[in-house]
Amino acid sequence: MTALTIDRVNKRYGQLHILKDISIAIREGEFISLLGPSGCGKTTTLRCIAGFERPDSGRILFGTRDVTAALPEKRDIGMVFQSYALFPHMTVAENLAFGLEARKIAPDERKRRIGEVLSMVRLEGYEQRFPRELSGGQQQRVALARALVIEPSVLLLDEPLANLDATLRDEMRFFIRDLQQRVGITSVYVTHDQSEAMVMSDRIVVMNAGEIDQLGAPREIYERPASARVADFIGRSNTLQGEIAEALGGESYRIATSSGAIGAEGPSGLSVGAKVQVMIRPENIRIADTGEARHGDNLISGSVVKSIYQGNANQLSIRLASGDEMAVDVSGRTLIEPDAAISLRFAPGDAWLLAS
């Protein structure tokens, strides 16, 4: 069932077209990330859902209820901010009671729910503390509890981990994801951090300049990016220029590149002669004489320009005969001589076509 529908929403600030016909359908209990660089419209989208921005056109539905014109306080949302936004003059318990009081929940029930949600975020016994007496991670857990205690229909999170240090951020990712799964609440998460979006989300909406570049599961977005822009934004990638030489049926193609003919996969329906880019992730390329070669693997030769040892991996920079450079990640144990001639191998399934 669709819990939240964003239907052809447009938003302009003067000359700036911030949101261009954005449509997203979010399922009940789904965790969706809006991912993109700053200024891509992800925060504006979130604010339209929350009711702090009014779309110029388009509709926003919670279930079947049209909330496009509803005030934020009438929407039944829970919201978590980058700045935590805890009320500094109220204790943890008072912060949590705030939304319950606005909903006229009886004191007994209030107390029960506050206790329950505090144990969920593992902050039992912190009721009488003021926010200033808590660490950043604890404050964000209180903010999360405050948003959840009102049992909203949608949970909105605006870069909630951006102010935390790296270790805590990693921990909180799993904490939030786990909590979201347990509560089963439909969530929209805004972030510019692609690894955060990857590990937390059911689906990711990659946004750029007010448009949706791609909407899909993390694996789909990483392995089958819709454009070079998405491929660049999510992880590292190599691209080779080429032209479709032969369509092999389904998603399989044969591509003529300046480094020879290679097999690759791409969206079905590309026609012979079309200019394409072949995208290959560095970790999917192997050195030809290591491991087990499979029938149909592509082979490319080049020479090692640079090798950066990172302990668990060796990041190689390989210059191909065509002059293109390719990044290749191999095991840190692999010994590589600079300037050595080298032969690379990758499966056609790991080479993905982007229309250029």
Binding site: L71, E73, F87, G99, G137, A143
Partner: protein, 293 residues
């Protein structure tokens, strides 16, 4: 996950930089403490017709003043004007400060100039302007008569009304500026969080914004109150005898009647009352603000 609160940051280098307060302190002692001390001694001297005061000491000026219903009346009026001006300035100034703190429009800088404008014109010039507006044949009365709303001119000056209007005008910036600094420091996220939790705009203001802006309200109201009760030029020019305040009375004692010790006693009484009022107010507001960081 760490279950410990962050360590409190110790104020570093206790005593460092003490010398930096010396210039300001010297200035205060020289031009504030010493003159007050001299006024205090003057108020305890016997009156003289030949010099500013005679050699002997007496507390007669205090007992006379405190036994005089006329002086109590003027003291009461001064405090009343101060209170009304403060309340009016707060009611008028808060919305302006709030708007300035939240607005991102390019017209805000123009509003800033408007806010500061009472301070950009000299005190006397501005008070004359108010006389032109408020006198019996003034702009205000002519307009009201022109509209047929009144037959006889309203008494808008030479009473407390005129003084109150003019003082509110001139001291408005003194409440707007501290409030503005305070309101700007309150993250807009807090109001959004409140609304997302189901609180209306009004409830958000009363439960979140207003309590957090108490320090600005406190600073601004004290400034306006102290400035209002000690103002001289405005009540002297617009107050007449019906709007006479303590500062006007003190100057009349000193300059017109040449009663320096008695005038000094009045000044000390006024200052003491002001200190008592402000410290009571500080106590009261401190209670309201005890939960703030």
């Amino acid at each position: 996950m760490s279950a410990q609160a962050p360590a409190r940051v110790e104020s570093s280098g206790r005593g460092s930089g003490t010398w930096m307060v010396v210039p300001a302190l010297a200035l205060l002692v020289l031009f504030f403490a010493l003159p007050y001390l001299s006024i205090l001694t003057m108020s305890l001297r016997e009156a003289s017709t030949r010099a500013v005061y005679a050699d002997g000491f007496t507390i007669a000026h205090y007992t006379t003043a405190l036994g005089d219903g006329f002086i109590w009346g003027i003291l009461g009026r001064t405090l009343m004007i101060g209170t009304i001006v403060t309340v009016l300035a707060l009611l008028l100034g808060y919305p302006v400060a709030y708007h300035l703190a939240r607005s991102r429009s390019r017209w805000t800088s123009l509003l800033y100039i408007f806010v500061l404008s009472p301070l950009l014109v000299g005190l006397v010039v501005r008070t004359f302007a108010w006389m032109i507006i408020l006198s019996n044949n003034g702009v205000a009365n002519q307009a009201l008569r022109g509209l047929g709303l009144i037959d006889f001119p309203l008494q808008l000056m030479n009473n407390t009304l005129g003084v109150t209007i003019a003082l509110t005008h001139v001291f408005l910036p003194f409440i707007i500026l501290p409030l503005l600094g305070n309101l700007q420091a309150i993250s807009p996220d807090l109001a959004m969080a409140s609304r997302s939790l189901g609180a209306s705009r009004l409830r958000t203001f009363l439960k979140v914004t207003l309590p957090l802006s108490l320090p600005g309200i406190q600073a601004g109201t004290i400034l306006v109150f102290v400035l209002s009760i000690s103002a001289y030029v405005t009540p002297a020019m617009l107050g007449g005898s019906g709007g006479r305040t303590m500062s006007v009375l003190v100057v009349q004692y000193l300059i017109d009647s040449f009663r320096w010790p008695a005038g000094a006693a009045l000044a000390i009484i006024m200052a003491s009352v002001a200190i008592i009022f402000v410290s009571l107010y500080l106590r009261l507001t401190a209670r309201a603000m005890r939960r703030l960081p």
